[in-house]
């Protein structure tokens, strides 16, 4: 943290100033929270009855949200496994000595990174069936997520492979290993171990992106919340709308924060193990974290 060296340990005057800042800042935050609560209360959004629906099993809401969450996790899990495997293969391909492997792989990676994820999913859903690929909303979503994320992960793996100490590779060659052996037995295992925290972090991105399923009609968490809103709107007016959106948002946040914690603890473990002395930075680049897009690397 270089921020700490930006300012000194505060003296008495600075401390007073900071105290004023703290108080003012705190008041502003409190005022904003108060304003929000006041508006919510004024509209009756805080009435316990409206929130009770989220926990009342007779209303079917908790079960439906749970199902939705499971569907979201299913898409994310399948997509993650496929993307990891394919991403590793692509990374190796991109580092190949043969131009006829390296260049097409590079083009594939760049292509899938350059197209918006939503377009990729729509492409899988609408176009692939016309050439005879059987498609469901689930498959289109998984496939879209896989194609995009494998391209992102390929770049991450490549960086991981390149970050393995050169001596490892040289030593392996010196032992008489072949190229393939060096890659599969020496470089890749170390790279994957090093990249483990990043993989978990990427899972958060994937989980967020799975919410695009609502556009292709896959009943994941967000679509479930929307369905509940529609269903209740019809029977009771919009009295549960706000609560259901808040609930869906909170579930995503809780799950993702938990996953980020896992990523952090995985990182700590890899740091501790002597073999992976220079564990990778757990932080994904900001644009990759944004999901749905990420930027092309432009190196094809």
């Amino acid at each position: 943290m270089s921020t700490s060296v930006l300012f000194d340990v505060p003296g008495p005057r600075a401390r007073r100033r900071q105290l004023v800042g703290t108080v003012v800042g705190g008041l502003v935050v409190a005022a904003l929270v108060g304003l929000a609560l006041w508006r919510l209360a004024a509209n009756g959004q805080l009435e316990p009855d409206r929130w009770a629906v989220l926990f009342d099993p007779a209303s079917g809401v908790p079960q439906a949200l749970w199902e939705g969450l499971l569907n979201t996790l299913a898409v994310a899990a399948v997509g993650m496994v496929l993307a990891t495997v394919l991403g590793a293969l692509l990374a190796v391909g991109r580092l190949s000595d043969h131009a006829w492997v390296r260049i097409p792989v590079g083009v594939v990676i760049e292509l899938f990174r350059a197209v918006p994820l939503l377009i990729l999913i729509l492409f899988c859903l609408l176009f692939l069936p016309t050439v005879g690929v059987p498609m469901t909303a689930f498959r289109a979503l998984v496939l879209g997520l896989t194609l995009y994320n494998m391209a992102v992960l390929a770049e991450i793996f490549r960086a991981g492979i390149l970050s393995v100490d050169r001596g490892q590779r040289e030593a392996a060659f010196a032992l008489g290993m072949r190229k393939t052996q060096v890659m599969t037995l020496v470089l890749l295992p170390q790279a994957v171990r090093r990249m483990l925290p990043v993989l978990v972090a990427q899972l958060v991105v994937l989980l967020k992106d799975s919410s695009l399923g609502f556009i292709v009609g896959y009943v994941e968490l967000l679509r479930t919340a929307r369905s509940l809103v529609e269903f209740f709107n019809f029977s009771f007016g919009s009295q549960y709308t706000f609560q259901l959106y808040v609930a869906a948002g909170l579930i995503y946040i809780v799950v993702n924060v938990a996953l980020s914690q896992v990523a952090r603890s995985v990182e700590k473990r890899t740091r501790r193990s002597a073999k992976a002395a220079a564990a990778a930075d757990v932080e994904l680049p900001a644009d990759v974290q944004m999901g749905g897009g990420g930027a092309p690397t432009g190196q094809a």
């Binding site: 800042g25 935050v29 508006r39 377009i119 609408l126 809103v229 706000f242 900001a286 999901g291 897009g293």
Partner: protein, 216 residues
Amino acid sequence: MQFLSDNSDLLWSAFLTTLSLAVVSGLCALVLGTLLAGMRVSPVPPLRGLATFYVEVFRNTPLTVVFFFLAFGIVQIDLQFPSRFLTAVAALSLYTAAFVCEALRSGINSVPPGQAEAARALGLTFGQSLRQVVLPQAFRTVVPPLGNVWIALAKNTSIAAGFAVTDLTAALQRLANANADQLLAVFAAVVAGYLVITLPSAWLIRVVENRVAIVR
């Protein structure tokens, strides 16, 4: 290719919508994100806490949820955007600001502590060392990540299609429906629209990056 000329008006206006959506949101996100980054490195704890909270919330929420919330949730507390375009701008800006903040912060963190220490040792104040030593260096390292955030934003505008904004993706859905036999051409036209925005941006970022790069 017949359909291309038939629908050139729609495609062109959809492209302009996507572009303006990206540009306006990008500028708003840049302002808000810079503010947040400033708060995150500031000495005042509540500001730091607030900015951290903001970033954590938006980093862990899908953009689509933000869209839904702004489009259909906040009206329950009497808040309302004048148009769906502005709803989309707000959702994209609020979401992207968190990542602009992250990109800036990692840029500031990438400046070796020795630089700040030296600045402090020379007697520069917090403001001076930030303005004259740390930020100019941070800016250089921040160009590629910020540029990448911009490209990601341009692609994320596609989600606005689900919320009554007739952007390129919405045009895709309309055309795909009407020209089910020419799907590939429809997709190609729309993807080209996005590439026209993202590829030159990527190229420009690389040029700027090479120019301002610091060789350490």
